[in-house]
């Protein structure tokens, strides 16, 4: 039997045995329309770019020789700043513990028993002067489960007064992070060893993206690892550390069209690397070899939480209408996420989804307890 014949037979058999998926025509059409729009914007942008180049005489700086959807402008590294000393200011909460008003105030949720407990003063936005209509609350619990980062994100137009706080889980030892300059800090996340945090620093009240900053918790020394010298309509980057603490993964919106891509940058700074196209809300699993993300990233049609292994393999964990704020449990077995109405939890291995509470988002306190944030 010739190898030619064997190959024909093999390929036919393999193709026939392949289980064909059902096309999601609605997603195809939506994606195609988005692409068509981007092509039009790209053509317009290209024309404007030519005019700009002719006007300024400045050469186009291609980043790594590639152009599609890459950020405009030079993305560079800025050296360590002068330490901000002291880096944290003690804060006294203004009110006592709140009632667990589901969907209104944050609360702890025991997934085993269903018991709900109001968060203590210091972890509730209104006790630290950060509440208000349209205010998203973000939490991140340190890997040892003791400290909680609390931050807010005002929906557009931004107030420009967003701050970063840290407190013990019981609300004690509340401190406000001193940010370098008059900047707002968004979506702060602990490093795996709890010695550093990463956040997005930007001037409030504009759509300027700002910078990703890694700041040492004790010394206050900060390092701007990426600077984005432009504006985006959706500027939130959602950075987080890799489990080995060596890199930061974040999302970056497209220019002039919906959607985003997922990038990685070393904590010491440098050129970011494109990890996943058309992806959002990245979060490493604890093994550091798998990355959970949401696609498609434009949020306009059926979204999926998927897991990539960095070697080409991706699998879908769950498909929903809309997916926001996915967070991975400490043991990597479950992912909590919001859908604009409720907080849901999906089992990574089985794909089984359970709606656990009304709310906007949730952070894992441990493998069985969530800290549920209310709707803005």
């Amino acid at each position: 039997v010739s190898l030619d014949q064997e190959l024909r037979s093999l390929l036919q058999d393999t193709a026939e045995r392949c289980e064909v998926t059902t096309p999601d025509v609605e997603a195809l059409v939506t994606g195609g329309r988005s692409l068509r729009h981007r092509q039009r914007v790209g053509r317009t942008g290209a024309g404007a770019l030519v005019v700009a180049l002719l006007a300024t005489g400045v050469g186009l700086m291609a980043w790594g020789g590639q152009s599609d959807d890459r950020p405009e402008g030079r993305v560079g590294t800025v050296g360590p700043s002068e330490p901000v000393s002291p880096s944290w200011l003690p804060v006294t909460p203004t009110a006592g513990p709140q009632q667990a008003d589901h969907g209104v105030m944050p609360f702890f949720l025991d997934l085993a028993t269903g018991e709900r407990t109001a968060v203590p003063a210091g972890l509730a936005p209104d006790t630290i002067g950060m509440s208000g209509m349209g205010t998203y609350v973000n939490y991140d619990v340190s890997s040892d489960g003791r400290r909680v980062l609390v931050s807010t994100c005002h929906s557009y137009p931004c107030s420009g007064t967003d701050k970063v706080f840290a407190a013990n889980v019981d609300g004690s030892d509340l401190r406000e992070l001193r940010l370098p300059g008059a900047l707002s800090g968004y979506h702060p996340m602990w490093s795996p060893d709890g010695t550093r945090i990463v956040y997005q620093a930007r001037s409030g009240g504009t759509n300027r993206v700002g910078s990703l900053v890694v700041q040492d918790v004790e010394s206050g020394r900060s390092n701007e690892v990426v600077h984005f010298p432009y504006e985006l309509s959706w500027w939130v980057l959602f950075p987080s550390f890799s489990p080995d603490g060596r890199s930061i993964v974040f999302q970056l919106s497209h220019h002039g069209s919906p959607g985003s891509d997922v990038w990685s940058v070393p904590v010491t700074g440098g050129d970011p690397t494109l990890l996943l196209k058309n992806a959002a809300w990245p979060a490493y699993l604890p093994d550091g070899r798998h990355l959970a993300f949401v696609e498609p990233s434009d949020g306009t049609h059926r979204q999926r939480i998927r897991i990539a292994d960095g070697h080409g393999d991706r699998r879908t964990v769950v498909a929903q209408g809309e997916i926001r704020w996915p967070t991975v449990s400490p043991n990597g077995a479950r992912i909590a996420f919001g859908n604009g109405d409720s907080v849901r939890v999906v089992d990574v291995s089985t794909g089984r989804v359970v709606t656990v509470a009304r709310g906007e988002s949730a952070e894992w306190l441990d493998d069985h307890t969530l800290l549920v944030a209310p709707h803005p």
Binding site: V1, L3, E6, L7, S9, L10
Partner: protein, 170 residues
């Protein structure tokens, strides 16, 4: 004619065939779905023009093949398109005088993307060397050399596995 006329029907009619081609090009169902979905979105974006072609399916096929090949060249896509590994390759059946597909398929998957695309287009799509060259945007001579190198690699791979078994191939 509207911009979308006939697209849904085209997808319904051709999805299965193109999905199988995508699977053979990528060796992975998830990547195949991503590849075909991406190609279909691009096709939709240019459907007004593509729908007037004699064979819109060939347009999608060309898109997918070139994405797979260019993914290998473009560092930014490495994380999405690295080939699956096959750490445990089965041995040929000791009593068979034909090639065991369980042995040959991993070898095909292990070929570089361009060689693999040539093999798939020639032996699954049954394209001539000239048509394969047209899809890949290269000379016929390049197809011949790529095909030769790929077949040699497959034979060597089969020989290597035969050292531990008694499979045969010609």
């Amino acid at each position: 004619m509207g911009a979308d006329d006939g697209f849904v029907e085209f997808v319904s009619a051709r999805w299965s065939r193109l999905f199988r081609l995508a699977y053979l090009l990528t060796g992975d169902r998830t990547n195949a779905e991503d590849l075909l979905q991406s190609a279909m979105e691009r096709t939709y974006a240019r459907w007004g023009r593509v729908s007037r072609m004699d064979a819109p399916e060939a347009y999608v096929r060309k898109l997918m093949t070139n994405v797979v090949i260019s993914a290998r060249r473009r560092p930014s896509w490495r994380h999405e398109w690295l080939r699956d590994d096959f750490p445990e390759r089965p041995l040929p059946s000791p009593d068979s005088d034909v090639v065991d597909h369980a042995v040959l398929w991993p070898l095909v998957c292990a070929l570089p993307e361009r060689q693999r695309a040539v093999i798939v287009l020639r032996f699954y799509e049954d394209l001539s060397e000239a048509d394969t060259a047209d899809v890949l945007g290269c000379a016929v001579g390049t197809i011949k050399s790529q095909s030769h190198v790929a077949m040699r690699a497959l034979r060597r791979g089969l020989d290597a596995t035969s050292l531990n078994g008694q499979g045969a191939h010609s």
